[in-house]
Symmetry: T
Subunit: 68 residues, 12 copies
């Protein structure tokens, strides 16, 4: 059978690390979507407050199966 | 709290200007989504009719908050 | 009237050809969306099994009208 | 019938706005070509004189039908 | 002797396949230009009608010799 | 004589238009630098508030002469 | 266990189609490498002879497992 | 009021992690600049010594307010 | 003396972090190659299982000296 | 007055150097076009024969004034 | 110790060659900055006068150490 | 017959010029590979020592025939 995947683009943030920002985005996607398969990092940036990195912000595309 | 944002990609059009094309896309997004935060211009193009620019077409990614 | 289009990103797959992979993605999109207008190829890749191409996987952005 | 389109690359300029720079490029193309169909913005820049923007310069690809 | 090549950008279309869209563009170029040497695929997209791919549209740069 | 130019990267913003955002960036650069020559648009985006575009934000590289 | 993959870059050619050009590259890679897993299309171009497409040339990155 | 931001490009390094390399660049920028607002990761690389990663090197653009 | 470097492209994976994925790729390269000098991150992605990030997959180019 | 410029894409070649390849392309363009103004290097490559560089091939976009 | 580098972007020009244009940019940077370490070519272009290349213009990013 | 080509990525360096850096990379490749056909410049950079360009470093992809 031929699968079809959909990709959505989310930006996760975290005060801790880039990995944690990605995990937050994936967790959020998992609240409303089943069958998440992979992610691709699109962009990494962050907010600076008081001269220090306050939030890591990582934009990911998340792919999931559309078949049922 | 760690926010998560989603981005969608829309193409707005307008006979007037590139700004108006963007505003049309944002207005359309606002009909069904709350908490729109920012847009990023991805692509600018347009249709030519009778040797003149008939429509400006601007593709934007629009980011909005997923948290509630 | 000023149209607004939305683009979604799908990956279709097929054991036959890149065209068939695109057609599978478009057909899947058509199950839940009306007014599909165009697609743009974003990425072409595939799986190899037993030293041969097993699946063609083509990612497309598909544009459709949001007006009603 | 299968259309074939050709694209040419022009840079229009205007002291007024980016839209006017595009329109100047399209108008110039229309002097020698019929059947212009669309344009794609490739690059936007401009000249600064006396500390102010003196000319907007927008490079576009302009597509037109080759069939007759 | 040092050759000089020129590249033009064409978009071919076909209801059948991406290869046929390229071949249509090359055939059209050959009507007015001799010494075509190579092509480079720049962009692949297409029109959707009735929920199905109606036309494959492939943009190519075509290189040809300017020497004589 | 061989000129050397330096480029700096600024983001201007304006509630009115993309052109005005660029002009604000150029005007700011002109407060501390002489001999501004050209700008190149790098990125266009903006803030959305209350479902409407509140600020246009355009990032430009601005080139100026280093010679004296 | 944590896999490591290596990617190599090959250009396959075929007088028939882009798919066949990819398959030729994959087949060649399979002569000396085991555990080929996927390919990514990097570039599509071709040679023109006598005003017609003579060879399709597709460059792919081919990924394979380094573990043993 | 319309803000204007300037972006500078720094490469931070760290033997520990990519996050630490970014934080070092931000800390260095903060020694001479006030009002740092955000960073964008441009490039990630590193030095290898003795077959192991010795330094993570991350290039970031750092944006700060020019208004006063 | 003029050095010549070769770059190879590897994808490392790790359930822990992006840094660990890079280190695994570097370690694997070091099993068969001496004189590894630097790496450049090309792409970051990962697998999702059970709604969580299961593996970080980072593709790097690794440069090493060819001289002897 | 508002100028409009056209850009064409040529590939020059030379057995000597990249500069000479560009100069050959510019000289060829000058045989049929007046008012050449600038060029932009798009791509640099070359042919290898007998294990040595035989021809440098540089692709340039050449801009010229369309006004008269 | 963890170094931090800053990159600035300069465009050098020369009537002679691309290398000389880079060297002029580096020399200019060296008038006001110590500890220059490397450059990266960003863009190569030039001015044409009288149908010939009049100036080579090469834009480089120049990296230097911020530590002291 | 359908050829298959492989591309490898090398960085050559030279204190003299960018062309010489490419030639050094090609010469090194020729020590272990036959049937080198073409190269593509990927990246140009260099080392600065004492405020002057000390080494030109050019990264090229070199293509060669895999058939025998």
């Amino acid at each position: 059978m031929d699968h079809v995947y959909k990709k959505i683009e989310l930006t996760g943030s975290s005060p801790e690390s880039m990995e944690k920002a990605v995990e937050n985005a994936v967790a959020k996607a998992g609240e409303s979507l089943r069958n998440l398969r992979w992610f691709e990092v699109v962009d990494s940036r962050g907010q600076i407050e008081g001269g220090r990195v306050a939030h890591w912000q990582v934009t990911v595309k998340i792919g999931f199966t559309l078949d049922d």
